[in-house]
């Protein structure tokens, strides 16, 4: 394709995510009234670089490039970016990109700055199709949770503006509250199903290896995150008909995931990079 490495392309992608994040701040300062087409083009450009980086790495390693924390983080961001672009095909939902861009930039920087890119794990028993499926499902789940948090932020912004009678609520291109709530709930549900699948795969895999699930901190952490999301969905279903607490919940749980993801990996003998 060219003389550049996959990492160079990923750096380019992260740089463009950064430009998109800066532009998103500009959009917020303009009361979300500016057309989001430019931001969509920026995300599309970043996504193109990101895809090239993924493909190059896959070809160079001759496997799906999701075998360590760097690759999994990169894949999660790629998933988020792809979903964002698909959702952005509907003009009234395109602002999701503006809320997701800072998150994509942060995840990209995290992936680049941490010494996580160490090749494949040192455990030969953890190679093969199971591992690919396990990491892919986790990455997709966290991608969906990340976007649900972005949708939650959009919801909270619009709700606050409407409550405070701000003119911005009328002038902005944000979609109606009910539609935002549907997007938020759908993404969270999709993430939860994927996370459940990923945990089932992990449980089967660990069982085959004869290891107890409780032996690994990261697995227990993942079950805890799963329980948090289950609680959030149950509360939404049974108690909260409105969206505000649900939106706060999606943002808070994903913030917890972001803040503890790295630490939980360090405490896990299997997942430690």
């Amino acid at each position: 394709m060219s003389g550049f490495s996959d990492r160079t392309y990923f750096v380019c992608a992260v740089f463009v995510y950064g430009v998109s994040a800066a532009y998103s701040i500009f959009l917020l300062r303009r009361d979300l009234r500016q057309d989001t087409r430019l931001n969509y083009i920026l995300l599309l450009t970043a996504f193109a670089f990101h895809t090239i980086a993924m493909v190059l790495r896959g070809y160079s390693l001759d496997r799906c490039p999701i075998h360590n924390l760097y690759e999994a983080t990169k894949f999660a961001a790629w998933t988020m970016s792809a979903i964002c672009l698909v959702i952005g095909l509907w003009p009234r939902l395109r602002f999701l990109g503006a809320f997701a861009a800072p998150l994509l930039f942060a995840i990209g920087v995290f992936a680049l700055l941490t010494p996580a890119d160490m090749g494949s794990p040192e455990h030969p028993e953890f190679r093969g199709g199971w591992l690919t499926l396990h990491v892919a499902m986790f990455a997709l789940a966290y991608g969906a949770f990340g976007l649900s948090a972005a949708a939650g932020l959009m919801y909270l912004t619009q709700e606050r503006d409407l409550k405070m009678h701000k003119v911005r609520a009328f002038l902005s291109f944000l979609p109606p509250m009910q539609r935002l709530e549907v997007v938020l709930r759908s993404l969270l549900l999709a993430g939860f199903v994927l996370l459940t699948g990923a945990l089932i795969v992990s449980a089967i895999f660990m069982h085959q290896q004869g290891r107890p699930l409780t032996a690994d901190f990261k697995i227990m952490w993942s079950f805890f995150v799963w329980a948090l999301y289950l609680g959030l969905l149950l509360m939404r279903w049974k108690l909260w008909r409105g969206g505000r607490r649900f939106a706060w919940g999606s943002v808070a749980v994903f913030a917890f995931v972001l803040l503890t993801f790295w630490g939980s990996s360090l405490l896990s003998p299997i997942h430690r990079p």
Binding site: L162, H165, P176, M177, G242
Partner: protein, 352 residues
């Protein structure tokens, strides 16, 4: 041949004068015929709405003389006997064309940027065209006016946003609910503004309206007009579980709805989002309610502030619109000088 316009509008005269010059649609063809037979105008279009009566004419006379004669004609056919001072305005040449473009674009309307006038202008032009009172000059002018109106609507913000309380209420509902199709509206207190807001919501697809008023007869009448149903005033809360939007405008001296009363009602409706529009003075709904989750409360001041903001935005656009109009009017007149006008009586809009 010059284009002139003589008329009166809400800018120049009160309704007491305008109503004396109004022309019903049935009478217009005969008046146009009379005007052309008198030799004042070779082509003519009469626009008569509640806010204006105007005669657009293409004339071979000297423009000022033509204007004076059209004014006399208007006074004569209406048998108007009071002295005329500034009630009637007259425009000639480029001013006349610019005035036509402004009227078509809603820049001369009472509600700045409104679009209803464009439909009325098209209808007035159609009527004159059908009776063969237009020709090359007015056809070109009206054709360009309709195009300029479209250009201004799409390329400027003159028509953006809602500048009436009723339309702000609709916009607000559309910011909360995904669609208005399944929404049920309740009107408490059958005032004029609440009626307008309910009509606006229905026109955007709201499913049904329930009306409740202290005078039940009035509630029944309004409900019949809106295609909804009436409920006795002390029973409106029973309907609450199914309601999404409440428009309140009673003349009660106290709150009709307060937080203590709403909280149990919200549980009944499983905390679905609720939009409360309080257009009563004194207010019907306790302001504290806005702090409740899933409840959005707007009073008359909030709605008017939003409408005023939109209006300011529209006013900021006026200079831009006027520049477009000036440019287009000059273009039309320059083209007219280059190409002699034939007796083109083809419909003016739909093609340039």
């Amino acid at each position: 041949m010059d284009v002139v316009v003589v008329g009166l509008s809400h800018h120049s005269s009160p309704v007491t004068v305008r109503e004396k010059f109004a022309l019903g649609e049935a009478r217009i063809p005969a008046v146009l015929q009379l005007l052309r037979d008198s030799g004042i105008a070779d082509e003519a279009v009469i626009l008569s709405t509640c806010n204006r009566v105007e005669i657009y004419a293409a004339t071979s006379l000297e423009p000022r003389q033509a204007c004076a004669e059209i004014q006399n004609f208007l006074v004569r056919i209406h048998d108007y006997r009071d002295p005329i001072t500034d009630e009637l305005y007259k425009h000639t040449g480029q001013d006349a064309v610019e005035h036509l473009f402004k009227v078509a674009s809603g820049l001369d309307s009472m509600v700045l940027g409104e679009t209803e006038i464009l439909g009325q202008l098209k209808k007035a032009y159609d009527l004159a065209l059908q009776h063969q009172h237009t020709g090359g000059r007015l056809n070109k002018a009206f054709q360009r006016a309709f195009n300029v109106a479209k250009h201004i609507r799409t390329d400027t913000n003159i028509q953006r946003g809602s500048i009436s309380v009723a339309s702000v209420a609709v916009e607000l509902a559309e910011k909360i609910f995904d669609s208005l199709n399944q929404r049920r509206v309740m009107v408490i207190g059958a005032g004029e503004t609440s009626e307008k807001a309910a009509r606006a919501l229905l026109s955007r697809g709201a499913q049904s309206v329930i009306v409740s008023n202290r005078s039940h007869e009035r509630a029944v009448t309004l409900a019949a007009e809106l295609g909804g149903r009436a409920v006795p005033f002390d029973e409106w809360a029973r309907e609450f579980a199914e309601i999404d939007i409440i428009i309140s405008s009673t003349s009660a001296p106290h709150y009709v709805l307060d937080r203590a009363r709403l909280e149990p009602l919200m549980k009944l409706r499983k905390n679905r989002a609720l939009l409360l529009i309080d257009i009563a003075v004194p207010r019907d709904i306790e302001p504290e309610i806005n702090f409740m989750e899933d409840v959005y409360l707007y009073n008359i001041d909030d709605l008017q502030a939003i409408a005023a903001n939109y209006l300011r935005q529209r006013q900021d656009e006026i200079a831009r619109c006027e520049a477009i109009i000036r440019d287009k009017a000059q273009g039309l007149l320059a083209a007219g000088r280059r190409t002699p006008m034939g007796n083109d009586t083809k419909p003016a809009y739909g093609h340039e």
